[in-house]
């Protein structure tokens, strides 16, 4: 199969049409010193020019709907079209957040039912949909932990995490006012000894994702929970990898106190070229009073927002959450239902083990062979050929498939992390295998020269950082 991406050499907007310079005349009621004098320059293309521009750009984008996108840790599954149709319901899109609750009972009921479903899925029944994304969920959850310890008169200062933790975990920890401390792993999983050595009465939270970022299930999770709780600390679940365990186990069963879910991963809200996502924060009863306001409450058959939560951390963003995304996640959960969600995890884990088994013939796999929804490979053998994992990733793109996540987690040298979600067929996995095989077996020269079938060739990222040009303004100065 020969793949060629569109190559448009598409001009920048202001190269298509000479920008208009807008002038502002005096306006009644606006103080003269405030009126705009600095020109605002921007092109005014015709609607066709505009449409053509962005359509051409779109043709220079990989996406789930153009090909398999097995980016590890990102759960790039099919985003059902019906979600797009439902989310564009006028009563959703045209509802102002300050509208009286009596006029948005439908939206509130949907949010309430989503909270209920996520409470059941996680085993942590108290849910806030306020966080905008996974990292925001982590940050919110850590603020909840912080408020909990303050209320107890036991202000703790540290968060412990495995060295394999996603970068957002330590970043969220420091933003929430904790000192993050990373502990080494053993065979890709938490080293219980290292955990016991690190944990102390200063420890507020241990953060873990399970399956972890190497795709392995942390089999000692119950023991981990016991040790964390024995020190009076809380156990935090990074739910980015929830896609592997729906209906099999849940954070509550595993002993976690706080969990966030990335609705844009497990529950299939589209990733939008980088976002928006949406997250849910789910906690035990002991922590519910600290969740952000407002909380959604049901009285009889009516729903309303409640602000009367004196221990609440307050707000982490404006309004109630990424409601438009929540609706898509709600539709996904309702469509799949009890058995469908279990099947989601079964097939994603099967896809992952199948592809791992096949790709394991081409590249070494670290750690135990049984994986969950994603797995690691190492590109180390390519080194003898003077090649790196990055080169292989670029060569893969020429096959019309997206590359795996590369160089994360850093535990494994030259790592590739592959996540083939449940929506990929066996045919698609076999094709991915073949693409990988062709790529590895290609000549060193060809791999170095890749990609050659995309809109652009190998992009010089170093030059971008050296000679910074981050806007039209910079280009005017240094074309």
């Amino acid at each position: 199969m020969a793949f060629h991406q569109a190559r448009w050499d598409e001009p920048l907007l202001w190269e298509i049409r000479t920008p208009i310079e807008s002038k502002v005349d005096p306006i009644q009621g606006i103080p003269e010193p405030l009126l705009r004098k600095t020109p605002f320059r921007w092109p005014e293309p015709t609607e066709l020019e505009l449409s053509r521009h962005f359509t051409r750009l779109s043709q220079m984008n990989f996406s789930i709907e153009t090909g398999i996108y097995p980016l590890g840790s990102c759960t790039m599954k099919y985003n059902p079209r019906v979600g797009e149709v439902l989310a564009r319901d006028l009563s959703m899109t045209a509802a102002h957040p300050a509208q009286p609750v009596s006029t948005v009972q439908g939206t509130l009921e949907m949010l309430y039912r989503l909270e209920e479903a996520l409470g059941k899925i996680t085993g942590l029944p108290n849910v806030s949909l306020q966080p905008a994304a996974g990292a925001h969920g982590e940050f919110t959850g850590l603020l909840v932990a912080r408020a909990y310890f303050h209320k107890k008169g036991d202000p703790r200062t540290e968060v412990i995490l495995p060295e394999t933790a996603h970068g957002t975990n330590p970043a969220s920890s420091s933003m929430a006012g904790f000192a993050p401390r990373e502990i080494p792993s053993k065979d890709g999983c938490v080293d219980l000894r290292a955990l016991s050595d690190a944990i102390s009465p200063r420890t507020a939270v241990f953060m873990l994702t399970n399956p972890n970022t190497a795709g392995l299930f942390e089999e000692e999770v119950l023991e981990i929970a016991d040790r964390v709780h024995a020190q009076g600390a809380l156990l935090y679940y990074d739910g980015a990898n929830m896609n592997a365990i729906l209906g099999k186990t849940n954070p509550g069963k595993m002993g976690f106190d706080i969990a966030h879910l990335n609705l844009h991963k497990t529950f299939s809200t589209p990733h939008g070229g980088g976002g928006p996502g949406a997250a849910a924060l789910c906690v035990t009863d002991a922590l519910t009073g600290f969740l952000p306001v407002p909380r959604l409450v049901k009285e009889g058959r009516k729903f309303r927002w409640s602000y009367d939560h004196p221990d609440s951390i307050g707000k982490v963003r404006s309004f109630y959450g990424n409601v438009g995304m929540d609706l898509r996640a709600f539709a996904f959960i309702m469509a799949h239902g009890e058995d469908g969600l279990r099947r989601v995890s079964e097939r994603s884990v099967l896809n992952s083990n199948y592809l791992a088994h096949r790709l394991g013939k081409l590249l070494p796999r670290p750690f135990k062979p049984l994986v969950k929804h994603e797995f690691l490979l190492s590109g180390l053998p390519l080194r003898e050929r003077g090649l790196r994992t990055l080169d292989l990733a670029k060569r893969l793109l020429d096959e019309g498939v997206h590359a795996p996540t590369v160089y994360f987690p850093s535990l494994v040298e030259e790592s590739l992390m592959v996540e083939p979600p449940e929506t990929e067929s066996k045919y698609s996995l076999d094709a991915y295998y073949s693409a990988m095989e062709r790529s590895i077996k290609d000549t060193d020269e060809n791999i170095h020269a890749a990609p050659r079938r995309l809109a652009v060739g190998r992009v010089d990222e170093v030059a971008a950082a050296k000679n910074l040009r981050l806007s039209w303004r910079d280009l005017r100065r240094t074309p």
């Binding site: 045209a94 006029t103 085993g123 299930f217 404006s318 009890e338």
Partner: protein
């Protein structure tokens, strides 16, 4: 059952290749004690039944078309040219992710570069990132950024600041261990005590936050000269992007950081999200900027290409010392912002902003002399929202009475938490967008006159 997962007969072939008997074997690493029984959800549904279910729930919303809406307060009902949503529905955009492999994602990357350029032009700052979650989080990130640029223990924020934004800044600044200090405001004009700012800025202040228009909807004509009183202290400005089609941009009067909410540029209200966080700063501070950044470079053949850049600021590399934890951003909303602004053009934006300002003026005129209402609440120019005080009744009582007459009359200004940190104003904000005509204003005025108080 929906057809979103491949058929089970494929499983058998794959299991055979793996040499195992059942899918259940793949979960043998989950300890027995951690296993769960039923989730407790209903059975799966076909797509038509799903559509019925969701539409059935949403039908309990009252259709907004039945109401006159005067709701604004930073989030506005505005017509979006159909071409914008048409582009957003291209799955090449909305089903891709963060452009980690630049060669495969030139479309998103070029669009984000154009978006960054647009926010730079509007704000007249020097560098903009490729979006944050919403205005409040962008402002909070802007404050954190200022703290990295300048030492200090306290951040001055407007005493009039919207309670949600204040709470978000407070939560975001825990890690930095700074204290928020409320800048007093004048009860008659609603404007900040500028002398207080100048006085305090000489002490241990790390940053000063102001808004244009402010949380009362007001325009403070003294802001353009504020920076000269601050010395080295960074000035962080929260600005409505639509206002910048009319107003001198903060970048022209010394702002170091400009944050804003992009919803008013072609994004649906969506009951509060997803919206769009805008952030721009000086080029000299670029290494302190949070979030994704797209730059221009070239490919191996010397052709122009775009790529994410300065990743060393970000969580995936810098981890606990990153400028922010943000990973997933609001890229698709940024695309909507860009497409909307380009479809409207500078002149279209300016006309729209002028019209909205004028229509609010008509509302104010129509409400003059209404018993129980103080219109406007402050004797100061306003832009897109007018603050209205309620006398002899609560804001809730007034808004409920208006709702009976099918009018969404305004957004309450007070913090709804029972134990709020500030004294209550008993006032609300009203806007009048492009869909509000003279008849709707007359309906508002007559309903307000009919209000008999508590």
């Amino acid at each position: 059952m929906v057809n979103w997962v491949p058929p089970e007969w494929e499983d058998r072939e794959m299991l055979a290749e793996l040499g195992i008997g059942s899918v259940e074997d793949l979960f043998r690493d989950i300890p027995k004690k951690a296993r769960m029984g039923r989730i407790g959800l209903k059975p799966s549904m076909e797509e038509p039944a799903l559509v019925d279910l969701v539409r059935g729930i949403l039908s309990k919303n009252r259709p907004v078309s039945g109401f006159d809406s005067f709701l604004g307060g930073g989030v506005y009902t505005r017509y979006t040219p159909a071409v914008v949503d048409g582009l957003l529905q291209r799955s090449e955009y909305y089903t891709s992710y963060t452009p980690y492999q630049p060669e495969a994602s030139q479309g998103t990357l070029q669009a984000m570069f154009e978006f960054q350029s647009l926010w730079v032009e509007l704000s007249n700052l020097e560098v903009a990132n490729a979006s944050l979650y919403d205005g409040a989080t962008a402002l909070a990130e802007g404050v954190l950024m200022a703290l990295r640029l300048h030492p200090g223990k306290r951040v001055l924020v407007p005493g009039s600041l919207n309670w949600e934004r204040r709470s978000v800044i407070e939560n975001y600044s825990h890690g930095a261990g700074v204290e928020l200090v409320d800048i007093p405001w004048d009860p008659t004009t609603g404007l900040l005590d500028i002398d207080f700012i100048a006085r305090e800025a000489r002490k241990d202040v790390a940053a000063v936050v102001v808004e244009i228009p402010d949380s009362f909807g007001l325009l403070d004509a003294r802001l353009p000269s504020l920076k000269s009183t601050l010395g080295e202290v960074p000035l962080v400005v929260y600005a409505d992007p639509m206002s910048l089609s009319l107003l001198e941009p903060p970048g022209s009067w010394g702002a170091d950081i400009v944050a804003g909410e992009g919803q008013g540029f072609g994004l649906p209200l969506s009951y509060g999200g997803p919206h769009l966080g805008l952030l721009a700063a000086r080029l000299s501070a670029v290494r302190q900027l949070p979030g994704r950044l797209v730059g221009v470079t070239q490919d191996a053949d010397g052709r122009r290409a775009f790529t994410l850049t300065l990743g060393t600021r970000e969580q995936h590399i810098r981890r606990s010392r990153a400028t922010s934890n943000v990973c997933t951003n609001h890229s698709l909303m940024a695309l909507a912002f860009l497409a909307y602004a380009t479809a409207m053009g500078p002149r279209g934006l300016r006309r729209l902003a002028e019209a909205q300002h004028a229509t609010v003026g008509s509302l104010v005129t129509a409400l003059q002399g209404t018993r129980h209402l103080q219109v406007p609440r402050f004797k100061t120019p306003y832009l897109f929202d007018v603050a209205i005080g309620v006398e002899g009744a609560t804001v809730d009582q007034f808004l409920s009475a208006m709702l009976e007459r099918k009018i969404f009359a305004g957004v309450p200004l007070d913090d709804p938490r029972p134990v709020a940190p500030h004294p209550r104003l008993n006032a609300f904000l009203a806007t009048a967008g492009p869909e509000i005509d003279a008849k709707a204003i007359a309906r508002y005025a007559s309903a307000a006159r009919a209000f008999g108080g508590a």
